[in-house]
């Protein structure tokens, strides 16, 4: 295990908070810009550790799919499950920063997501993994994996970005 410096921890924490704020403020194009080119945005289904090629996911986006998702939500105006859009607030806690041999960083954290839509507040929680790579203009997300605690229960609407 590679020791994590206070500076790196602070950098990664800031990055996670900034990412959450972009989602909460609905700045989806800016959020998309946080990802590397060959990105993966993944919300497993039924359990956290599945093989996405043999088990269905809730979301398993490559760049093409995620760009389409962001276009649909932010620009189509007709993604009806988000008309009007959910109001979101992400709380990110229990952050653990694990530097990798490659220079990449794995950040594990827990989240609580408050979502308000259709006169109701919904709570989602769970753990998440950010696999971060340092590129010329700073940290980028190679993989964001969101393990929602209720991924084996009925979820009525998860069309917003978690």
């Amino acid at each position: 295990m590679i020791a994590v410096s206070a500076d790196l921890r602070r950098e990664v924490e800031d990055f996670l908070y900034q990412e959450a704020r972009l989602l909460d403020e609905g700045r989806l194009d800016d959020w998309l810009a946080l990802f590397v080119e060959d990105l993966r945005y993944w919300v497993p289904c039924n359990e956290d550790d599945i093989d996405p090629d043999t088990h269905v996911s809730i979301v398993y986006d490559d760049r093409l799919r995620l760009e389409a998702r962001v276009w649909r939500l932010a620009h189509s105006g007709i993604a009806y499950a988000q008309v009007p859009p959910s109001r979101l607030r992400h709380l990110i806690t229990n952050i653990e920063v694990e530097p990798q041999e490659s220079g990449a960083v794995l950040a594990r954290s827990n989240f609580l997501l408050l979502e308000v839509r259709r006169n109701r507040q919904n709570l989602y929680g769970g753990s998440q993994e950010h696999h971060l790579r340092r590129e010329d203009d700073g940290w980028k997300i190679a993989l964001k994996k969101v393990n929602i605690l209720t991924n084996d229960l009925a979820i009525d609407n998860l069309t917003f970005l978690v």
């Binding site: 919300v43 996405p52 269905v56 996911s57 276009w71 007709i78 009806y80 008309v83 084996d152 009525d156």
Partner: protein, 446 residues
Amino acid sequence: MYAPPSTFDPNELVRDDRLHRRIYTDPAVFEAELQRIHYRTWVYLAHESEIPNAGDFKCVYIGRQPLLVCRDKEGGVHVVFNRCTHRAATVCQTRQGHARMFTCAYHGWTFNLKGELVGVPWRDGYDSSYFHPEELGLVHIPRVDTYRGFIFGKLSLGGPSLAEHLAPARQFMDEILDCAPGGDFYLRSGTQFSGYDGNWKIQVENQVDGYHAAFLHRSLFLVRQRRGGAKASSGGQAADAPGYALGNGHACLDRRPAVGDVWFNWMMKQPYGPAFHAELCERYGAERARETMLRAPDAAINLTIYPNLHFFGVQVRVIRPIAVNRTEVTAQPIFWGKAPKEVNAMRLRVHEEFYGPAGFASPDDMEVFNQVTDGLQCEAVEWLLLNRGLHRERVENGVPVSTNSDETPLRGQYAEWKRLMLAEDGGDGATNGALKAARGSRGARR
């Protein structure tokens, strides 16, 4: 406290050209539907491929009633009520898994994979003059039958066989399942769960409503058009594709005449496409190979087996009524046994784009179901229209058919709804499915 009207006349609420709002909002109607439809007719439960080995089990529901589907050591499939015969606790708490036996947490009664009672702690508290463990096994539901591995159950004894029930839909069901090379398929690729705060019939209508897609799902079709798919204005289907009211409530949109070659061409551009195509040509001939490639991402048949099973895209969908205003929907992608793993992975990716709680289309349906449910509260506006295409609907070989944007399939569903709701004995001698089931079992003998 307000008490809902306790009586209703199905003939009043369901007309040939319109539906009354109460069938979606009245708890009394919902309770009657449970008794007269879901607890009486054939209902889909699970697929045999989900429980391939001895000891494999799956917990399912018919309406609110918990059932346990399990495979015994001889390979037999049993469907029992998930309810201890002693003091009623459910004996299995895991949705799906593997067990040697089922032990009730409450007092330790143990049942084997056939449901037989094989263990009773502190047995000396029971005397053989009144205690007959051989009669206290988990209670089997009255009827179980399968078709191509699809396990159906029936909570009443009488009525048609499963084969009779499925007959009007069987050809389309076969055509969907035969998209798999060699007809070899299985359901072990996970289950997406979603739901909405509305009546179950709204989903059952929607899945054979060919009118809405071009409008409600336009954003998905625009996404597909941008990457070279069909024109979004087609709504995934041309107006001349047929929609059928098959009979027994089953209904079908056959989108195959409308989808063209788009998916075939797309498949051939995938890294695994040409090799898969060549292999299919060798095994099954060029014509079959072409059909298989074309249908790999989408069977292009929407088929509802009334009341709770639906085939759509690559998936098996199950609709579970929970309350008059609450419904849960599951989707399981069908995997092909004789296909490269890349093809099955592709089926997952295409499925995820459309369906599930974060898909580009299904959640928009659910959103509208919620909107419909809100709108239905307007008591002064009593009727929902069911008349689209009445002037051009025709009958072919005894089956009502029209263009798939017409409401012919929905009219077929409501003809069956009315038949089941009106039949005092359901046409099968069972006035109360649940009661009949209990009486018919050995365990409930006095």
